[in-house]
Structure formats: structure tokens, C-alpha cells
């Protein structure tokens, strides 16, 4: 029976090619626009380390100006970064099995004499303690990270991104080779896989969708080389800073701190530690704002920092309004078409077709139409996302990881396609099924 309905549907659709094309195109455009905006929105609002979201927390403490909050627009939040001494105290608590303190610096990466002439590159470095790689499940292609002892030394070891390894070593296993960063020699101990967590949750300052840093070096180099931050440094207190030591003792905030807490008990202990640490500092005259010591998980952190932005939900809403117009359009046209052809249906009913059969026949036609529209829509969406990626995704602008047609957008598309065909076909098919055949036969 379905085969027969299918044949009827194709014939009926071929009878008015212009209107069929209009309906297919409307559905395709509606679906394409929805899939594109949803894919980008989903990419922006996703948690790139969801499997650990109940264990990873960033630490923020309100050490800011007693007179005003760090961010006037979001007065409830402490500053997003920590001072040097608070970062040190928090990561040395011994409570979390893993803890990192870190920031980004910039310098020139250049080839060692043994490598030959390769163009130097100015790159961002993540200056971090050893737990970074294990804590954030950073994937290695060759080698691995360093031990905690390398942080205190500090040892001249370096981890390269896949891109830098490609640039300087042609993608070969460079573990054990040397490379220079700001004219100092480092030994490569690890090379990462291509790794683009989007958003860059562990440091959302200066562009939440920026690419991660290209190199990683032990935290001890920060003090030893007096490496200035290439990220945000925010200061509220007028302090006469005459040396790097003064700066490290200052109230300026510029370090990110993350801890891994395996269970609620560890979390409570960590919170208690933060509260007692801040209480101690308060007695010595610091932390004069209301107590606001936070352990924030990744999801909340991305929400607090408004990573998704205002425009994205607006675009999704617009896309759905557009899809709604396309659907209403299709419903109207299908209905007009079915009713315009009611005499034939009347004859079929008079010859013994049941309402159910007439309904199914017309639903088949609507379903066929919507399916073709959906397939075309996916093709259009794929082309659109591909175009967006070509135009906008670059290391300078970020967004590299956002515009991929992945399993999620595929599922959304299938759901949209089924929903659309039902929405477009049900009402017209139902209306035509309810027609009393006599009316239409009589009128002729």
C-alpha cells in the first residue's frame, strides 16, 4: 500500500513543479538556518571537559578594593584571577589531589642549531604547574608532561603543541630534542595532539574561543625569568611597585587556579581551607570585602563569564521564527493543493477508500516533500557551515572548533526533519481526510 501512496505522491508533486519546488526550498532553507545557528550555539555553549565537570573547580577569592566590586556589572563575582601569593597558598593546601596555578606569557620560539634554519615564531606560552596535563586530560602525541619537581627547579623542559612541532620538527617525534624560547634552551619532553577545547574554559580571559597556547613550561620559570603576563593583569590598590618582587607581593590579580576535588568531602575540606586562609589574611589587613571564596565548576564558570554572549540565543530564536514561517507557508500551500484536488479524492472516497487511507496517502505526500526538503536542508547547512569555517575560523579569530557538523547537529537535523514533516503534513492530510466525498462529486 505504501508503495502505491508513494507513487501517487510523486505524481502529485510532479503535477505542480513550481509549487513543489517552493515548498521543498522553504523547508530546506528553514532547516538549514536552524541547523547552522544551533550548531554554532551548541559549540559555544558546550562544556569541552564534560566528563570531569563534577570534579574540576576554579578558585576565586574576593581580594578586591573594599570600595567597589571587581566588576561593576557583576558585583556578586570575585575577580576572575588570583594574586601571586594567594595562588601559591591555595595550590599548596595539600587537599586536592591535583591543583594548578598558571598564566600565559609571550616569547619567541626559535630553532636550535641542530634543527637548522626555521623561521622563529612569537608564541603564547602557558606557564603552569605540572598537574595541568593530567587534570585537563590533555592528549599527548609523543612523550608527556613534567613531574612536580621540575616546577621548583625549574627544569628547562617544554611541551609543544602539534602545530609548533609541525613547524619546527616537521611533525616528527621531537622528544629529547632542544628548542629555544626567548633565547634559552629547553628540552622537548612532550608533544600534544591537536587540542582545541572550545571554549578555552581554563582561561577565558582575552577571548574565550582563542586557541590554546602553543607551548607549556614549568611554573618555576615565572619567578626565575621574571616573565610578565601576556594575559590580563588587574590591580586596584595604589602600590609603589619598584621591582618584580614588589609586584609578586602586590594585590594585582593575574593567575588562574584550578583544583580537582574527587568528592563532596574533599570539596567541603577545600572550602573550609579557603575560608580559614582568607580569615587569616583578613586579620593582617587584606580581604576587606564581604567573604566571597568560591569553588566554581566548569559549567558555572562558563556561565559566570558569559562565554556564549548575547547574540547567539537571539540568532537561534530568529532561525526558529524563520523555520516557523517556512512551515506555515508549506502547510498553507499543501492545504490549498490538497483541497484544489479534492474532486479526485472525492472519487477515491466514493469508490471505497477509507478516511484513514486518504489521510495516509496525503501524509505520505507531505512526508516525501519534507524528507526531500530536509535532505536538501542538511546539504545547505553543511555548505553554510563549511563557508563559515572558511571565512571565519582562524587562530586570530578563534572559533576553530565551533563549526563542525558533528553527531549532535546530525541528531538535531533528524529531529527537525521529522518534526517538520509531521508539522507540515498532519493538518492538511487530516483536513482532506475529513472531507465528505459527496460535496465534491456533486459540485461538478
Amino acid at each position: 500500500m505504501m508503495g502505491y501512496y508513494f507513487k501517487l505522491a510523486t505524481r502529485s508533486l510532479a503535477r505542480n513543479p513550481g509549487i513543489t519546488a517552493l515548498m521543498v526550498l522553504a523547508i530546506a532553507l528553514g532547516i538549514a538556518v536552524c541547523v547552522i545557528t544551533l550548531t554554532v550555539h551548541h559549540g559555544m555553549s558546550s562544556n569541552p571537559i564534560w566528563w570531569k565537570s563534577d570534579r574540576l573547580y576554579t578558585v576565586t577569592l574576593d581580594s578586591w578594593d573594599p570600595e567597589r566590586p571587581a566588576d561593576e556589572k557583576r558585583p556578586a563575582l570575585p575577580p576572575p584571577d588570583l594574586t601571586w601569593r594567594d595562588a601559591e597558598a591555595v595550590t599548596r593546601s595539600g587537599i586536592p589531589p591535583r591543583a594548578v596555578r598558571m598564566y600565559k606569557a609571550t616569547g619567541v620560539l626559535s630553532a636550535d642549531e641542530t634543527t637548522g634554519a626555521v623561521r622563529p615564531e612569537r608564541v603564547l606560552a602557558r606557564v603552569t604547574t605540572a598537574d595541568f596535563f593530567a587534570m585537563f586530560d590533555v592528549p599527548f602525541r609523543y612523550g608527556g608532561g613534567w613531574k612536580s619537581a621540575a616546577d621548583t627547579g625549574p627544569e628547562p623542559v617544554i611541551v609543544l603543541s602539534a602545530k609548533m612541532n609541525e613547524h619546527f620538527f616537521g611533525g616528527a617525534d621531537s622528544v629529547g630534542r632542544t628548542i629555544r624560547w626567548d633565547d634559552r634552551e629547553y628540552r622537548v619532553i612532550g608533544v600534544l595532539e591537536h587540542w582545541h577545547p572550545a571554549p578555552k574554559f581554563y582561561d577565558v580571559n582575552n577571548g574565550a574561543f582563542d586557541d590554546p597556547e602553543e607551548i607549556y613550561i614549568p611554573f618555576g620559570w615565572a619567578e626565575k625569568l621574571e616573565l610578565r603576563s601576556a594575559g590580563n593583569t588587574n590591580c586596584w590598590k595604589p602600590e609603589d611597585i619598584q621591582s618584580v618582587a614588589d609586584f609578586l607581593r602586590s594585590e594585582c590579580v593575574w593567575l588562574q587556579v584550578w583544583v580537582e576535588l574527587p568528592d563532596a568531602a574533599a570539596r567541603e575540606r577545600m572550602q573550609a581551607f579557603l575560608d580559614s586562609y582568607v580569615a587569616g589574611e583578613r586579620r593582617s589587613g587584606r580581604f576587606q570585602r564581604p567573604n566571597n571564596n568560591r569553588l566554581t565548576n566548569v559549567n558555572q564558570w562558563l556561565a559566570d563569564n558569559e562565554v556564549v554572549g548575547n547574540d547567539s540565543p537571539l540568532l537561534v530564536a530568529l532561525a526558529f521564527a524563520f523555520l516557523a514561517v517556512c512551515l506555515i507557508n508549506t502547510v498553507g500551500l499543501l492545504l490549498a493543493k490538497f483541497l484544489g484536488n479534492a474532486t479526485v479524492t472525492g472519487v477515491r472516497r466514493a469508490l471505497g477508500a477509507s478516511r484513514r487511507q486518504v489521510f495516509l496517502q496525503h501524509l505520505t505526500e507531505a512526508g516525501l516533500l519534507a524528507s526531500v526538503g530536509a535532505v536538501l536542508g542538511v546539504v545547505l547547512a553543511g555548505a553554510g557551515l563549511w563557508g563559515l569555517r572558511i571565512m571565519y575560523a582562524s587562530p586570530q579569530t578563534g572559533f576553530t572548533g565551533l563549526m563542525h557538523v558533528n553527531g549532535w547537529s546530525f541528531a538535531i537535523t533528524v529531529a527537525l526533519a521529522i518534526g517538520t514533516s509531521l508539522a507540515a503534513g498532519l493538518y492538511p492530510a487530516w483536513r482532506i481526510g475529513r472531507l465528505a466525498p459527496a460535496v465534491y462529486l456533486k459540485s461538478q
Binding site: G18, I19, L22, A26, L29, V33, T106, G107, V108, S110, R119, P120, R122, R180, D182, D183, N206, R228, K237, P238, E239, D240, I241, Q242, S243, V244, D246, F247, G309, N310, D311, L314, L315, L318, A319, A321, F322, A324, V325, C326, I328, N329, V331, G332, L333, L335, A336, K337, L339, G340, Y392, Q396, T397, R431, Q444
Partner: protein, 404 residues
């Protein structure tokens, strides 16, 4: 006349309402989207089009980074600047601590008194040298430029106080209540005095989304190495040629540094506004598509109605209706349906506008946009119905007498 026309059309519409309701719904959604989208686009276009105060089309940036042993920052920057300034076609060049409109920059807080009490005023500052004012192409409206002997040497911790500042009129107004601020003194957080020696008419600073984008100050200091950023202004039409020349020369002139990039300043402006531009492009595209889909929908439905009513139209013609009457019948019918949609859509548009203004701190929807949207949809509706109405008028009266 019109009233007499409308009654039968209305009763026909009401008896056969599904198609009309669907068209009206489309029109309503289209109006709500159109009005709000155009309003948002207008705001984005205005934002991108704000005057920068800078000669943005004729400026390029060079970033040079020393990295090898023996690199001498002061000597290298001195040589580079002298070379850049000697080029015919270069109007001015300066060392700069930041790139205007790039999204990256520095700010500090200035106070009325040395005690740094009360609400401070933030200043987005750029360290420049005596070439700064000319290299930016900003207009000095009072006071004077920095002299070469006033430029402080590099100071990584920025410990040394800067005694003088050239600021925008907007910043001067915020600090002193008057743009005429030459000679006035303001204080940094440590209570060190800074004297205003010049006022520039207008200049946009680093962060395009900051509400104090024009609170900009130029401070006389060489920024600390080993990274040097040069801001170079050329005579119109020569920027691209000089950029190429600069890239080649600077990369070769000193092997202990690398030239990280040579880029026009508008690259940074475009990058900063990329989100706004994408939003505007997307809104315009989807709104245009929506208008097309709506128009085609109206057209197709009107065509269908004409086809279905062939005999009825033939009958009307046979009993004396003129072609113009038939055309008018369909145009009025379309107008009635569109109007129903527009009424619903106006409510929807205002509702959406209200939600947007609440959620995104946009100004409230301007009613002119609504009026414009209503006119546009009426026009779209009439335009889409015109051709089917003409076809209806061509139906010959004899059709009525034939059986199908």
C-alpha cells in the same frame, strides 16, 4: 464603494478561513522579525560607523620582537624609527604600547586629588613618542604635542611617574567638567601629579564595547621591550606599498629580532567588529529570505485561489463585473489578510522588542520602525498578489458556461 466591496470578500474569507489565517500568521511573524532585525542591524551599523578620530585608512602597524642574545631594544627601535620616518610617503611614525580598536590595551585610574579619594575616572592610555599625535592623525585642538626630550625611557614596571598627558576632550570633560583642560593637573593612584599639556578632539581607544571608548590619554614613554610596536601613517594611497617595503627591510636589518607582523590598522578594527558585522549580515540575510518566502507564499496561495475560483470568476464576469473589479477583489482580499497579519504582527513585534530591550539592554523599539515594517508588508502583499489578480481578470466570462 470600498465598504460594499469588503463585505462579500470578508464573508468569503471567513467561510474559507484556513488559508487566510496561515498567510496572516506568516505576515505577523515576518513583521515581528523584520522590524526588530532592522532595528538591531541599524544599531550595529551605527556602532561600527562611529568616527574613530584616527586616520585609520592610512595607518599600519609593525610588531618586532627581539629574541636573540645581544639584542639592544633602545638602539634597534631608534634605528627602525629613523628609517621609517625617512621614507618618502611616511607622514609620521611612533612607538606605541597598544593598537587602537584592537581589543587589547591598558588603562589606569585618574583622580581629582592627590589623596586618590572618591570616584576615579578610567583612562585608556597609550605610550607614544613625539610622533604619536601625527602618526595617529588625531587633531590637537588645544595645547601642544610632546617634545622629543620629554619622552621617558623604557621602564618595564612603569615605576617612574609620567608627568604629562595629552588627552581626548571627552576624558578632559569627565575629569574636569570642561574640555579646555590644558594646564590642569590630575593624579594617579599613588597621588603623583600628571599635567594636561594637550587636548585632542576625539580618539577611540582599545575596546569597542567599552562605554568609555573615547576616554583616551597619550603618555610620553617608550614602551618596554623586547616587543616594539610601531604605528606608521602614510600619505593616502601609499600604505600598502610602504607596508611591503617595511616588512622586507625590517626583517633583514637586524637578525636578532623577528618581525611578527606588518598589518593595516583597519585589520584590527574589522576584527573587533567582526561579531557585530556577522550579526548584521546574518540578520539581513535571514530577514530577506523570510521576506521572499512570505511573498512567494502569498503569491502561490493567491494563484491557487484564482485557479480554484475560475468558474466563480467567470460567473461574476458574465453577470457584469469588469476586469478592474476582479483585480480589485483579489487585491482587497489580500490587503485584508495582510492587515489582519500586520495587526497581530505589530503586537508581536512590540512584545519581542520589549523582551529584547529587557534581556539585552537595547533601547526600546522605535515606533518608526514598526510603521515602516507595516508599510513594507502591505507592499509585499500587494506586490505578490498583483500577478495572480491580473490572471484572474483575464478569465473569460464564457468559462462560467462551460463544465469542467
Amino acid at each position: 464603494m470600498i465598504a460594499r466591496d469588503i463585505r462579500p470578500i470578508l464573508s468569503a474569507l471567513i467561510r474559507n478561513r484556513t488559508g487566510a489565517v496561515l498567510v496572516a500568521l506568516q505576515v505577523a511573524i515576518a513583521l515581528a522579525v523584520l522590524v526588530n532585525a532592522v532595528y538591531i542591524v541599524k544599531q550595529r551599523v551605527d556602532k561600527v560607523g562611529r568616527p574613530t578620530g584616527i586616520d585609520i585608512g592610512n595607518i599600519f602597524m609593525v610588531s618586532s620582537v627581539g629574541f636573540a642574545a645581544g639584542y639592544d631594544h633602545a638602539a634597534t627601535t631608534g634605528t627602525d624609527l629613523a628609517w621609517l620616518r625617512s621614507l618618502p610617503g611616511v607622514r609620521a611614525a611612533t612607538l606605541s604600547s597598544g593598537i587602537p580598536l584592537s581589543g587589547g590595551g591598558s588603562s589606569n585610574t585618574l583622580y581629582q586629588t592627590a589623596e586618590a579619594k572618591g570616584e576615579g575616572t578610567p583612562m585608556n592610555y597609550f605610550y607614544v613618542d613625539e610622533g604619536g599625535v601625527d602618526a595617529l592623525g588625531v587633531r590637537l585642538v588645544a595645547g601642544r604635542n610632546f617634545r622629543a626630550d620629554e619622552i621617558l625611557p623604557e621602564d618595564p614596571l612603569q615605576h617612574e611617574a609620567v608627568p604629562s598627558v595629552i588627552m581626548t576632550r571627552a576624558l578632559a570633560k569627565a575629569l574636569f567638567g570642561t574640555g579646555n583642560a590644558v594646564g590642569r593637573v590630575t593624579y594617579d593612584g599613588l597621588g603623583r601629579p600628571v599635567t594636561v599639556i594637550g587636548v585632542i578632539e576625539h580618539m577611540q581607544g582599545s575596546w569597542v564595547d567599552w562605554d568609555k571608548l573615547d576616554h583616551v590619554g597619550l603618555l610620553p614613554r617608550h614602551d618596554a621591550g623586547p616587543n616594539a610596536v610601531y604605528l606608521v601613517r602614510t600619505v593616502p594611497g601609499q600604505r600598502d606599498a610602504i607596508m611591503k617595503l617595511a616588512e622586507e627591510h625590517l626583517a633583514a636589518s637586524e637578525p636578532r629580532r623577528m618581525v611578527q607582523y606588518v598589518r593595516p590598522l583597519d585589520y584590527y578594527r574589522d576584527r573587533s567588529y567582526q561579531g557585530d558585522r556577522n550579526m548584521a549580515i546574518f540578520l539581513v540575510t535571514v530577514t530577506a529570505l523570510l521576506g521572499c518566502v512570505t511573498a512567494l507564499g502569498i503569491f502561490a496561495l493567491a494563484t491557487f485561489n484564482v485557479n480554484v475560483r475560475t468558474r466563480q470568476i467567470g460567473t461574476r464576469r458574465a453577470v457584469g463585473a469588469r476586469k478592474a473589479d476582479i483585480v480589485r477583489y483579489f487585491m482587497v482580499e489580500n490587503w485584508l489578510v495582510t492587515t489582519a497579519g500586520v495587526v497581530l504582527g505589530a503586537t508581536l513585534a512590540l512584545g519581542v522588542g520589549f523582551v529584547l530591550s529587557r534581556a539585552y539592554q537595547l533601547p526600546r523599539l522605535d515606533l518608526y520602525y514598526l510603521a515602516g515594517g507595516v508599510l513594507a508588508l502591505w507592499a509585499i502583499g500587494q506586490f505578490a498578489a498583483w500577478q495572480p489578480a491580473r490572471r484572474a481578470a483575464k478569465i473569460s466570462p464564457s468559462v462560467a458556461t462551460r463544465t469542467v
